[in-house]
């Protein structure tokens, strides 16, 4: 159970002590509560939560007897000591447990029958197990109008709160958003934000998982289900390349809730989720979800059944030379089966992956890698480029923790971002990241155990900086690196050895392919969409798309096969730093849709070349065979927590981009996970949707003749962006334009080339603000 810290009973330096008459051991420094749990003795706790930092001893639930110490001791804050004699079942302990629970329940409404936490509530469970059978409290209890909306997504039932301070500590110490506090005193204490404002955190949902009672609950999940009516499935989040481990709560074939794992993956997310990962699941039944196959005919669109649609797809593709594109979110199975088609069902097909070519990153990727959990042990953490808080959200919590543990956090990069407040950062001129690398090289060299996090997109765009950084890391034998990836399954696609999409783009332009099969690939919505749009303008061949939601790409397709989302399908994703992890199907998905890998298998059957696998696990084994990165890895070995790739996910030969093309200002693009695409497909997250804004510093805005609120287009050699709204803001570096990726209609993507090579843009005002 997550609430107790894992205890390693095998490491050196064990302390021997006596627990209820048994001689047992635990590593020096282990808190009694954890040591007891490791030896099968549950000490009831409420406020203790090792992930929140040092224990605070607020609830007194964990009292035990320690021989020689006066009075009872709190097991959550008493470390084991040699020859300590601990008793957990004496009358004195029992009386204390009864007493504490009686006081905690004195003002508790005991409305378990209407409480979402009922059935999975530590207060309920521990009262049954450790509490008095009866309460002597007959006085009126406190009442509050209920519930209070702490935010759009979190409800607070104040009278249920037992004042354990877990949520406050999360907000103040872990997320450091400074939002939640306890106000007033005694029986009047209540959890609140400043003046009752909405709780504005990007990790706010974690307080729901943390609350040991039903005081903090999820509004989208309110009154939706009971723990005994659901199945919980361990899965992972596929919304960003971090790959946080999640648990899906499934009822009646639908994912009703996503929570952190009760047993956190300490190598990845440590049990925390960002709010996007927690609440985006309702996108799987958003109004625009593609629930049936769409056949585009001269007379209009026709919705088809799956069987017919796969037949139609086979008919469209049969006998043609097909360009196949795997999207950045396609699973290893989907991409691998698609690649297999070229060998059998669709001979001569050209298969490629969307995403950043990254040829310049080979040196960096070959260096010793680390897991996110390793950041805990680092003395120096260096962040090169990127904006982890926006692009790989959970990394922010890891870095804040490192800072709390006393590590030095430093770095460089072209964007201002939240992590910069944790240490000394060098702001680099776009295109001159190498200067920043020179500045951090010293920090890496002087550290005992440095971990370097580097941004895939930024370093791919600046080969000189990538080479310099690789040298700086290689110079310190203890240094390890973590790639801050741009794409959900970018590593998985590279590990399969798929080449970059320009191969297919060129083939389309030159007429070497006469059909396209897009597997979760959205070339008309991705960087380079202008080039793709031009290439597809005169493309006469059929376009078949496998997709879950409508995009400009599915609009262009002649046939859309409806696929399953990451909450519904089986599959494997490889996280940005090469961790192979399994998606497990929670929900069933719409009647008319099927998993992308199953659609591809069905297609191969129809094309007369049935592949020898029927399950995702077998497909994984087949498609990864022969790829060194996957050596020895199967769905079984990946297990519940995942395993690192056997070798770096690297492809050779991809070109390094030239210096920035065009005239004008450098364009710095950032993928905003919070408030981005997912926020627009999810009703629960709708209020977080960010506007498509081009951020420009004041003097630069003046020089470009634009004002706050103007609507502009950015013009680069790669094409025109869509409309962006100018936001003139202090604090952004002068001399560049900062714009989001993934905004509706993919505006910024229009001005970027397919390989995300750096561009200079001209600011063209379209409408005055």
């Amino acid at each position: 159970m997550a609430e107790y810290a894992p205890v390693d009973l095998t490491v050196e330096n064990q302390v021997e002590f006596e627990l209820d008459g048994r001689k047992v051991t635990a590593p020096a420094g282990t808190m009694l509560a954890d040591a007891c749990y490791a030896h099968g003795v549950e000490i009831p706790i409420f406020c203790y939560e090792p992930r929140l930092g040092p224990p605070i001893g607020a609830c007194r639930m964990c009292l035990v007897e320690v021989e020689g110490m006066r009075g009872l001791q709190t097991a959550c804050s008493t470390p084991v000591a040699p020859d300590m004699v601990v008793r957990t079942t004496t009358d004195a302990v029992k009386e204390a447990q009864d007493g504490v629970l009686e006081v905690l329940l004195a003002n508790h409404p005991l409305d378990c029958p209407v409480c979402d936490k009922g059935g999975e509530c530590p207060l309920q469970d521990r009262t049954f197990k450790f509490g008095p059978g009866q309460s002597r409290f007959v006085e009126p209890k406190r009442h509050h109008p209920k519930p209070l909306e702490l935010s759009d997504r979190i409800a607070l039932d104040r009278e249920r709160c037992i004042a354990c301070f877990r949520c406050v500590r999360f907000s103040q110490e872990v997320a450091q958003d400074g939002e939640l506090t306890m106000q007033a005193r005694g029986a009047l204490s209540e959890i609140t934000t400043f003046s009752g404002d909405a709780y504005a955190g990007r990790f706010s949902g974690n307080v729901i998982d943390l609350c040991p009672v039903g005081a903090l609950t999820s509004i989208p999940y309110r009154f939706v289900s009971r723990p005994w009516d659901v199945q919980n499935t361990p899965s992972i989040c596929g919304l960003c390349p971090v790959g946080c481990n999640t648990e899906l709560t499934v009822r009646e074939g639908r994912t009703k809730r996503v929570t952190g794992r009760p047993d956190p993956n300490s190598a990845v997310e440590e049990g925390w989720l960002c709010d996007t990962g927690r609440w985006a699941y309702d996108a799987s039944w958003s109004d625009d979800r593609i629930t049936g196959a769409i056949v585009r005919e001269a007379t209009g669109d026709r919705v088809a059944g799956l069987e017919d649609a796969v037949d139609a797809a086979a008919a469209l593709l049969r006998g043609r030379t097909v360009g196949i594109l795997a999207g950045t979110g396609a699973t290893v199975e989907e991409a691998g089966i698609a690649a297999d088609l070229a060998a059998g069902a669709l001979p001569g097909a050209i298969v490629a992956r969307m995403g950043i070519p990254g040829g310049a990153l080979a040196g960096l990727r070959a260096l010793p890698g680390a897991q996110l959990g390793d950041i805990d042990d680092a003395d120096v953490v260096v962040v090169v480029g990127g904006d982890p808080a926006a692009q790989q959200p959970i990394v922010e919590l890891r870095l804040r923790k490192a800072r709390r543990f006393g590590a030095t956090v430093t770095g460089c990069g072209p964007r201002p971002h939240l992590i910069e407040s944790l240490g000394a950062f060098t702001r680099t001129v776009p295109g001159a990241l190498a200067d920043g690398v020179a500045a951090v090289a010293q920090a890496i060299a002087g550290a005992t155990l440095p971990v370097v996090l580097w941004d895939e997109a930024d370093l791919a765009a600046e080969p000189a900086a990538a080479a310099a950084l690789a040298d700086a890391i290689a110079a310190n034998d203890a240094a390890r690196q973590i790639e801050l990836g741009a794409d959900v399954n970018g590593s998985g696609l590279r590990a399969l050895g798929l080449p970059t999409a320009d191969l297919v783009l060129d083939a389309v332009r030159e007429g070497r392919v006469d059909a396209l099969l897009l597997v979760h690939a959205e070339p008309l919505d991705a960087p380079g969409r202008t080039a793709w749009a031009a290439a597809l303008q005169d493309f006469a061949g059929p376009v078949v798309a496998i997709a879950t939601h409508p995009t400009a790409t599915t609009e262009r397709a002649d046939l859309v096969l409806p696929a399953l989302t990451m909450w519904e399908q089986d599959g494997t994703l490889v996280s940005m730093n090469g961790r192979v992890q399994r998606l497990r199907p929670g929900a069933r998905g719409p009647e008319g849709a099927a998993a992308g890998w199953e659609l591809l298998v069905a297609l191969a059957h129809r094309l007369g070349a049935p592949p020898p696998y029927r399950t995702a696990a077998a497909a994984f084994r087949a498609v990864t065979a022969g790829h060194a990165a996957f050596a020895g890895i199967t769905s079984d070995t990946a297990g519940i927590l995942g395993v690192p790739l056997a070798a770096p996910a690297q492809v050779d030969g991809a070109s390094a981009p030239a210096p920035a093309q065009g005239e004008g200002l450098p364009l710095v693009a950032t993928r905003e996970v919070y408030g981005g695409t997912h926020a627009r497909r999810s009703a629960s997250l709708a209020s977080t949707a960010a506007e498509a804004a081009a951020r420009i510093a004041p003097a630069t805005a003046e020089a470009q003749w634009v004002r706050d609120g103007d609507r502009i287009v950015l013009r680069s050699p790669a094409g025109d962006s869509g409309l962006l709204t100018v936001r003139v803001e202090e604090g952004w570096p002068e001399g560049a334009v900062f714009a989001p990726l993934g905004a509706p209609g993919a505006p910024t993507e229009g001005a970027l080339p397919p390989d995300m090579a750096p561009v200079l843009v001209q600011v063209v005002r379209v409408e005055a603000g």
Partner: protein
């Protein structure tokens, strides 16, 4: 009150506080002198001046009975209702004051003319002089009979507040 004013107040006394968190208290006390209570803006200014989050500052303000997060009368009269004073008749003092000021007998409150607020206090450490009363978080006085307490409040109603005296 704005953050600069609060900083100016704190600067000379900063060195007296080993833990910078403790500065929140004098900052709040000072901010309160302006309007007699603390508004959202005052607390945000204290947060800015001390470097803590606004919600933390508000939690401190909400903890203390003499820091007011809602408007109060010009003079605040706190009546001790803890045991020793209660045995010496503080409940009658309380009743008399609430009656005289026309405020809620359970929770106290502010008189219609806005001059006087009656509120409960827990033991003020003046048990030997119960029933006792504290005015404006300053000195505690006692013992009081209900009549004497009413007389005190009448005097307070007329007298200028300390803040009025300073200006």
């Amino acid at each position: 009150m704005d953050a600069d004013q609060i900083r100016a107040h704190l600067d000379p006394i900063r060195h007296e506080f080993a833990d910078p968190r403790s500065l929140v208290m004098p900052a709040l006390k000072f901010a309160q002198t302006e309007k007699g209570h603390l508004t959202r803006e005052d607390m945000a200014a204290v947060a800015e001046a001390t470097g803590y989050s606004p919600s933390f500052v508000e939690s401190v303000a909400s903890f203390y009975d003499r820091l007011y997060t809602r408007p109060v009368g010009n003079r605040v009269v706190s009546v001790c209702i803890t045991l020793s004073c209660m045995l010496r008749g503080s409940d009658e003092v309380w009743e008399a004051l609430c009656e005289h000021e026309g405020v809620d007998h359970h929770h106290g409150g502010t008189s219609a003319d806005g001059r006087i607020t009656i509120q409960e206090a827990q033991c003020l450490g003046y048990c030997d002089r119960g029933a006792c009363i504290q005015v404006d978080a300053e000195e505690t006085q006692g013992p009081f009979t209900p009549e004497e307490a009413v007389k005190l409040v009448e005097e307070l109603r007329e007298a200028p507040t300390p803040a009025e005296l300073w200006r």
